[in-house]
Each structure stands twice: as C-alpha cells, then as structure tokens.
C-alpha cells in the first residue's frame, strides 16, 4: 500500500500491531465468515 510505505517504521509497527489485534479479536469473538470458496 502506497500510504503504508511512506510511514516511519514506528508507525508501521503500530499499525501492524493494531491490525493483528483487530483480526485476532474478530477471530476469537467468533467471526463466522465462511471464506467464499468454501461456501459454494
């Protein structure tokens, strides 16, 4: 992503940690999304 590449390293690490935390939170909250190829 263009904007990501422009960020300083500390902000990059912060953003990645935030994303990881959100994904893990969603998964442990039981995000029930069936990945599309498994849905057919």
């Amino acid at each position: 992503m263009f904007f990501f590449d422009k960020l300083p390293v500390a902000l990059k690490l912060l953003l990645l940690s935030l994303e990881l935390a959100i994904v893990l939170y969603a998964v442990f909250q039981g995000s029930t999304t069936t990945v599309l190829y498994q849905g057919f």
């Binding site: 992503m1 994303e19 994904v23 998964v27 990945v35 599309l36 057919f40």
Partner: protein, 404 residues
C-alpha cells in the same frame, strides 16, 4: 482431518515456515516446496477415497499431454475432463449424475481450480516443449498443488509459474519490505474476518427478511439491501483472500498474479471483468472466448464479426457462471453476466458510431457520465451477484407460493 483454509493454524504456520525453507537456492528447493504442497494436499482431501481420485485427476493431464497432439484427441480429452468435473462437483441437474455414488468431499477436487491449470498445461504443452520450458513431474506437481493458490487461485499459468520459481535474480528483502509484505497479509485477513464478516451478516439478515415479508415493495427493498451487502461481502472476502495469498507467496519469494484492481471503479461491465478476478477473466478469454469466437468466424458468423463477438461473449460468461456452482442460481447468474457483457459491447459500438472514436473518448471523460456509468455497473453487478452463494431462486419461489 484438520481443516485447511487461510484461517487455519496450518496455513498460518506455513506462511511463516515456507519463506524460511524456500530461501534455499539449491536443487532441494523444488523438493521442499513439493513436500509442503503434498502435506496440504493430503490434508485437504480428508479421506483416502478422495485422495485416490484426486491423485488420478491431478496426474492424468501430465501423463496424457504428450499423446494429445493427434487429431481429435484433445476434444475427446476435454470432454472426458468435463464429464469428470461435472461428476466431482455433483451437478444434480445433469441426468446421469444422480445415478452415480458420490461423496461431498469430492467437491474439493472440483473446486480447487485444478481444472483450469490442467487445461492450461495440456493446451500449452507443445509450445512449452518447443520453447524449452522445464517440464518435469515435480515442477508440474508444484504448479498444480501450490498450497498458496490451492483453494481458490489466483489462476497461475504453467510457464509463468516455472519461470518465477527458478528465477535467478531473487533478492533478499529489507526490513521495510518485510513490513510491507506483512501489511498486505494482515490487511487481507482484516478484509476477510472483519469487513467481509460484517457484510456477510448484513447480507444474511436482509436475505432472511425477503422470504418473511408480506408486501412486494418490502421484498424489493430487502432484495436491494441484500444485493449490496452481498456484493460487498464477495469483494472483501475474495480480494482479502487474494491479499493473504499474494502477500504470503511474496514473503517466500514467489510472485502470484494480482487478481483485483479496484473493480467497483469500473465504468463498464467489460472494464469490471478486467479488474475483478483478473486471472479468471484472462483464462476464460484465452480458453473459452477466443476459441468460440474463432469457430463462429469460420462458421455461422463468417461475415458477421460483431454478431460473432456478442455470441462468443454471451456463451463465455454463461459457461463461467455455470462453472461457479451447481444450482440453477448460477445458470441465471451466468445468463445475466452474458447479457450484461453483450449490452456493454453493443452500447460502446453505438456510442462510437454516434460520436466517432475521438468523440467517444471525450464523452467517457465527462464527470456526470462517469458517475452514472459507475453507479450502473455497481448496481448491475450487485443484482446479478445476488445469485452467488444464496438460493435466491428458492427464496423468490417461496414468496410466489405464499402469494405475496
């Protein structure tokens, strides 16, 4: 057997382990990749009977390809592949399918895009040999079973895969590049497990309301809401999956073709399909549209090239629609996409006739025209995608039975 998907621990583990193992530049590299692929392939098959059929299904094109250059052999082979595919996917509306014993696990073999790779390999075989492209069993198996793209593509071509795998100029990446690759993977997971999950819940909610309602206007409103949620779900889910797969492969020094390029900014359906699921669009263009168009030009549409183009487009998208799933919903989906593509092509031709080529380009640059076209494409795609993943025909039939 454990589940294998981008959300599984196995896939997560492979994302971390593979870059460390594939850093190896020696002769063992294809063997290491093969062992990783074999592991995920066996897990994905889940039963010994599925594994046995999958092994035959995967190996058949490799061993038969050298003998298929005789006249009439290829059509026979592709008919055989088509029949096996119809059986594996259990197309219940095809008469002979119901008579055969079938296991739901077979669907994995049909779904895993093996068919696309097999057809590409067989059709390109002679050209690959003449061009001196490396063709060995281990390279073929790595191409077919690459765990990154095993589940839902993007569709790779044999030549591109082999060239990329044996690329000499593969360089180690910097810390900043590593962070960019990780960002791509995490962004993909975010799209799948957060955005697409939210839109999926919304889609499910409005879809259930459709068959519960007692007024036509409410059914139409709920259908529209469902359609937009569902199309957003499809976009975030599939493009998120592709981000994970492309980013993951990139981390291991393998390049996988980009599959999405902001499809909802398209100004026509033709443009949409050049931006959405790009690898499938290119595959059906090369292996369905082009042969059908050529056959029509040398036959019934000899002096009617434009008619041939429209018929070939319609047939291509109808076939692609039927490939997407086994129910009548997918036949309707393919039919609508085919109609949409023909409309898009005819409209462009008429506008060029009206304004001339230069005038048409200026017309397309108008802001208002651009917005209207964009909204029209978005709406059409959302309405036609409503037949993907849901039994819309069943829900609408239920409304009719209830006399709404």
């Amino acid at each position: 057997m454990p589940e294998f998907s981008i959300g599984s621990y196995i896939f997560g583990g492979l994302l971390i382990i593979s870059p460390l193992l594939l850093i190896w530049k020696g002769r063992q590299r294809p063997v290491i990749f093969f062992l990783l692929n074999l592991f995920t392939f066996i897990i994905s098959c889940k039963s010994s009977i599925t594994l046995a059929i999958a092994v035959i299904w995967v190996l058949l094109p490799y061993f038969l390809a050298p003998f298929l250059n005789k006249k009439g052999a290829k059509p026979l082979f592709f008919t055989l592949l088509g029949l096996i595919y119809i059986y594996l996917m259990n197309y219940a509306w095809v008469p002979f399918i119901r008579l055969l014993p079938w296991n739901p696990l077979f669907k994995f073999i049909g779904l895993s895009y093996f068919l696309f790779r097999e057809i590409d390999f067989v059709l390109q075989y002679e050209g690959l040999r003449e061009a001196g492209v490396r063709i060995s069993l281990i390279d073929y198996l790595n191409y077919m079973l690459s765990f990154y793209t095993l589940l839902a593509g993007p569709i790779i071509r044999y030549e591109a895969f082999v060239e990329d795998f044996y690329r000499e100029d593969r360089a180690y990446f910097s810390g900043n590049e590593l962070l960019s690759k990780l960002q791509r993977i995490l962004w993909g997971y975010l799209k799948v497990y957060v955005f697409s999950a939210l839109f999926n819940n919304g889609g499910d909610y409005w879809f259930e309301r459709i068959s519960e309602t007692d007024a036509v206007w409410k059914a139409v409103l709920y259908f529209l809401l469902f359609s937009f949620f569902n199309s957003a779900f499809i976009y975030f889910n599939f493009s998120g999956y592709c981000d994970v797969v492309i980013g993951g492969a990139d981390l291991a020094g393998l390049s996988v073709k980009e599959n999405f390029n902001k499809p909802y900014l398209a100004h026509s359906l033709t443009e949409f399909w050049n931006r959405h699921h790009i690898s499938l669009s290119e595959w059906i263009r090369d292996y369905i549209y082009s042969p059908v168009f050529k056959a029509l030009l040398s036959g019934p549409c000899r002096k009617k090239a434009f008619l041939g183009q429209c018929v070939a487009l319609f047939a291509t998208f109808l076939i692609a629609g039927i490939w997407h799933g086994t129910t009548v919903n997918y036949v309707i989906y393919g039919f609508l996409q085919g109609l949409g593509m023909v409309f898009s092509t005819v409209r462009k031709k008429r506008l060029i006739k009206k304004f001339g080529k230069k005038g048409y380009r200026e017309y397309e640059k108008r802001k208002l025209v651009g917005i209207m076209e964009n909204v029209a494409v978005w709406t059409f795609i959302s309405l036609s995608f409503a037949f993907v993943g849901y039994d819309l025909v069943g829900a609408l039939g239920f409304l009719v039975i209830r006399g709404v």
